[in-house]
Symmetry: C2
């Protein structure tokens, strides 16, 4: 027998800012079990949607300094009196073993700070599930009173686009690099980044970081201006997570951009667009889940899948046959 979850009580504790309630709620939305899903849905419904945090996406290749930056930047924010939540998205963690241990040591002070909440990426994670989990975890952090939600991703496969679809601002962390470095950054990422931070601008790497930053600033100027940006955005800056250099400036730019977008209707507009996008994804996902729960449809699904795997059908045709067997149920 399942242990029933007292949803109103959990919602109340979460709204009161209890970290354990938040952690438990995130565990609930991460679960694939049908009864947990029902509880998660009830919880989200109970919490409503009336508090907003600033959602900041942070992406960068392994080793660029994401964890170190978040430790420094997060501490800077909590010292300003803000409550900071950190969520990690790493679809590859199942494969590579993850870097959670490394993160625990690199975010040592932030993880112990009472105004901060850090949640690593769950281990077994499919893309559809990761997106849902992250989106719902953001909503939970907002309801729990966090002011800033940082969503970190290593940017494997489609994870950057996914995170960008959930954030108000998207930040790309880069390392100082040689002459050819512009090649290494994908065109699509330059297009979704609002602020590029060239990290490790310290010691021997300082002048190289400055040059790299200038190169990116030049490249950004070549991109067409987007309607949701004021003049001078997207922009590139140098920071040093080690020395804490550039963190106040980065925060100033982030808030300036968010304020401009709020004043010009782009902030709410972007959230509405994102909500619509995820709504359609959710409809798809929930339809598929229901299909898999119906024994008759699940059997058809399996039969078509077998034909397909034996090379006797194609995905489009097999799917159409499943849908045809679904036809009795709708107009």
């Amino acid at each position: 027998m399942r242990k029933p979850v007292d949803i109103p009580a959990l919602a109340a504790s979460l709204k009161a800012g209890e970290r354990r309630a938040l952690a438990r709620a995130i565990t609930l939305v991460e679960s694939g079990r049908a009864d947990h899903r029902a509880d998660a849905l009830a919880l989200l419904d109970a919490l409503g949607n009336d508090r907003q945090a600033l959602r900041i996406g942070l992406s960068g290749t392994p080793g660029v300094g994401k964890s170190t930056f978040i430790e420094a930047f997060g501490l800077f924010l909590v010292e300003k009196g803000l409550k900071v939540a950190v969520l990690a998205v790493d679809p590859s963690s199942a494969r590579s073993g993850g870097s959670i241990l490394g993160d625990k040591t690199r975010m040592e002070h932030l993880s112990r700070h009472p105004q901060a909440f850090i949640r690593p990426s769950p281990s077994q994670a499919q893309m559809g599930g990761v997106a849902r989990r992250t989106r719902e975890a953001i909503a939970l952090c907002e309801a729990a009173g966090y002011d800033v939600v940082l969503i970190e991703t290593v940017g494997v496969g489609q994870s950057e686009t996914m995170v960008a679809e959930m954030c108000d601002l998207f930040t790309l962390l880069l390392a100082p690099a040689g002459g050819d470095e512009l090649q290494g950054v994908k065109r699509g990422i330059m297009e979704i980044a609002d602020i590029i931070l060239v990290n490790k601008a310290d010691g021997d790497l300082k002048s190289q970081a400055t040059r790299t930053c200038a190169d990116y600033a030049g490249a950004l100027r070549l991109l067409r201006k987007r309607p949701q940006d004021p003049e001078s955005f997207p922009k590139a800056m140098t920071v040093s997570a080690y020395e804490g250099r550039g963190l106040p400036e980065a925060w100033d730019e982030m808030t300036a951009l968010a304020d401009w977008r709020k004043d010009h209707g782009h902030f709410a507009g972007r959230r509405a667009e994102q909500a619509r996008y995820w709504f359609h994804e959710e409809v798809r996902l929930q339809l598929l889940e229901r299909l898999q729960r119906d024994p008759v449809l699940a059997a058809t699904l399996e039969a078509e899948e077998t034909k397909l795997i034996n090379g006797e059908s194609t995905p489009t045709v097999a799917a159409a046959n499943v849908l045809a067997s679904f036809a009795g149920g709708t107009r």
Copy 2:
């Protein structure tokens, strides 16, 4: 009134290898119109699934030399007597204006060769649609008698993972780079690449290309061996699309890898896995399409979307409400 498509005649012309029939069929699968979709489904069903081409994915950042490489490599293959189809996947082409004009001039000889067929990326493209279109276009090229299907992508967002899910082999094209170049390649891409080709190994860039290739070869050795790979794969090689250097060697490695996988059951196994994956994607997509065609459900969908956009709901809750109104139709 719509002009009816004579499906059996189109299928016969396509199987006879008529390029115009293939072009027309691809236009059909690219269309979003419901009647075109029905025709596309009938065509795919009529064509069956009994011919296989070698499907090779080719990815690389802008400017790395994909178009130049495909021109040279494609000509090398047609001169061996093979029929070569080239499909392009560029989800960003709508935004950036595309590089189709550039490609026409860079694939000048290949595009005029009777054994070759080149199809640029359609302009207005959403990710779900791009995947379906590309997958179905591959099936059409196979039915039309092509021996090799090259699927090119610039690798924006999730397009590389998507293309890798449709290919027998995945090739990553890189340019010679400075000391920090390994940073630039995303971990996820190293993991899906079967063969890395360092292009531009000519003139002044030759020694740099050799060094870059050695760096990647070293990095690849650090990755865990995958069950679907023989010893020494994934591997890195240098090529020059300009001088045609390394193309026969690259082809030898590709066929060696494909043959090994065929002998060890991994070729068919991978295709079966991919078919299952796309089958599930198609079921989702077709369910959503049906939902949007049903007037009652479409109205609920719209009402929930409006609430959502006004910030009165969340995607998970709104989707659950749509699904609840769908409940009468199924068990």
